[in-house]
């Protein structure tokens, strides 16, 4: 237990969002505490698919496409900095990535989605290509006969997200941040220009507080005048044994990791807080993956798991400072891997300065208050 209990910033949540912001703030000389739960936590940061993904993001909010592209563009430098400071290789690669379609109907729907995305006014430039089977086969010769086409975006990539999480923790602790596990926040009280946090691990006082607790932000937000409408959305993942490298590009539902395993995902289910695996969904995941790459059927499955995404009703992030309790911020999204570079290098300096830049206004939860019709 640390003797020092007063901090510039208390970050609530030790997952990828909280750790990236905590690391970023610590590098700027801030005294930071990162408060985490324990093994009871849902831990989306340990269950994710580890894509650093750009294609098709931002339909309905082109600013999100720009925000995503910016983080993707910053990722290589971010990964280099982490490696230089901590020695951990996050295995970031950006060879471009694919979405594969198993029927003409899927391919048409995909092409339409991409067209609508890029037809939006204020849309940032994101290069992509719709490919028919012959073009695809040149880049992915092992695709199965059912693959009719797909989309390719040269900006897409992936990483080892578990190592990223470990590297961020190591990095911020090296620089003096206090990581405080088993500190479940019970109350946050703004008092005298500070925030007093009562936790299961003791009290913590900080000048600012950042809510980065994933689905826990809904509960925490109400303590500091922030409405954070997030809900859990289940995704399931199947993992094979380690194989020699054979898949040079990540596909949105299939990627070979730097360590050789092949991850298959990524289902979407509204199942509340139920984070159990179901064989029906994992069977469909495996079956579709084998249709895309028949070679996969030779590999043994070694693990399956389910995890809960942190989802807003429109699927976009929330970044906001409380109007009622200035100094209280929320940062929440379901793309903690892709957006890690932005959280560390763009959001952290804004929090240090005490003000989110106007470019983030669009991500305020106030957007949910506007009547739709």
């Amino acid at each position: 237990m640390s003797e020092r209990r007063d901090y510039d910033v208390a970050v609530i949540g030790g997952g990828l969002v909280g750790s990236a912001i905590g690391w970023g703030l610590t590098r700027l000389g801030q005294r930071v505490a990162v408060l985490d739960e324990g093994d009871v936590a849902y831990r989306a940061s340990r269950g994710n698919f580890a894509l650093v993904w750009v294609q098709s993001k931002g339909l309905g909010m082109p600013e999100y496409a720009a925000w995503t592209r910016r983080s993707s563009d910053g990722w290589a430098g971010f990964a280099d900095t982490i490696k230089a400071e901590t020695g951990f290789d996050t295995a970031f690669q950006r060879p471009g990535g694919f979405t594969l379609c198993l029927s003409e109907a899927e391919l048409e729907a995909r092409a339409l989605t991409m067209k609508r995305l890029h037809n939006q006014s204020r849309m940032v430039e994101v290069p992509y290509e719709m490919m028919e089977r012959p073009a695809l086969e040149k880049m992915l010769p092992m695709i199965g006969p059912e693959v009719v086409g797909g989309s390719y975006c040269p900006l897409d990539g992936h990483c080892n997200s578990l190592r990223l999480l470990r590297a961020l923790h190591t990095g911020m602790e090296q620089l003096g941040a206090d990581y405080l596990p088993s500190h479940i926040v019970e109350t946050i009280e703004p008092r005298g220009g500070e925030f007093h946090l009562v936790t299961t691990g003791g009290d913590v006082t900080a000048g600012k507080v950042v809510l980065a607790a994933g689905n826990g932000n809904a509960r925490l937000g109400s303590m500091v005048g922030l409405d954070v409408p997030v809900r859990p959305q289940r995704g399931q993942i199947v993992v094979t044994e380690r194989a020699r490298p054979f898949l040079p590009y990540p596909v949105v539902t299939i990627r070979q990791t730097d360590e050789g395993t092949v991850m298959l995902g990524d289902s979407v289910e509204e199942a509340g807080w139920d984070d159990r695996v179901g064989s029906g969904v994992t069977s469909v995941i495996a079956s579709r993956a084998i249709s895309m790459f028949p070679i996969l059927k030779s590999l043994n499955v070694v693990r399956t798991w389910a995890a809960l995404r942190v989802m807003t009703q429109d699927g976009f992030p929330i970044y906001e400072q409380s109007a009622d309790c200035p100094g209280a911020f929320v940062a929440t999204c379901h793309s903690g891997v892709t957006l890690a570079a932005n959280h560390a290098l763009v959001v952290a300096p804004m929090i240090k300065a005490g003000r989110l830049d106007a470019e983030l206004d669009v991500f305020s939860a106030r957007r949910f208050d506007v009547p739709k019709s």
């Binding site: 194989a243 054979f246 070679i295 030779s298 043994n300």
Partner: protein, 98 residues
Amino acid sequence: MFRRAKEAGAASVSLSVDGQTIAAQAGDSVAAALLAAGITACRTTPVSGAPRAPYCMMGVCFECLVAIDGVGSRQACLTRVRDGMRIETQQGKREAGR
């Protein structure tokens, strides 16, 4: 290293291990046949490359993985020998598709 408790009785079968012929007894598991023939390293690990041998002999430890008749990562302790069976030891990560 290993000696059979009972030599006689069962019919003899022959297997190839990495191209070399060994004799086994009908009813042996592949893992038992390898150990009886003095082959104690059936694979190297995908992570460090350390040699591995059959260990639990009952299907839980997955140390005895070998390629059998062209299919990789089969549990040698749960597979009965068959005359003419082709066994290959595995080096590191397996190759997808075989």
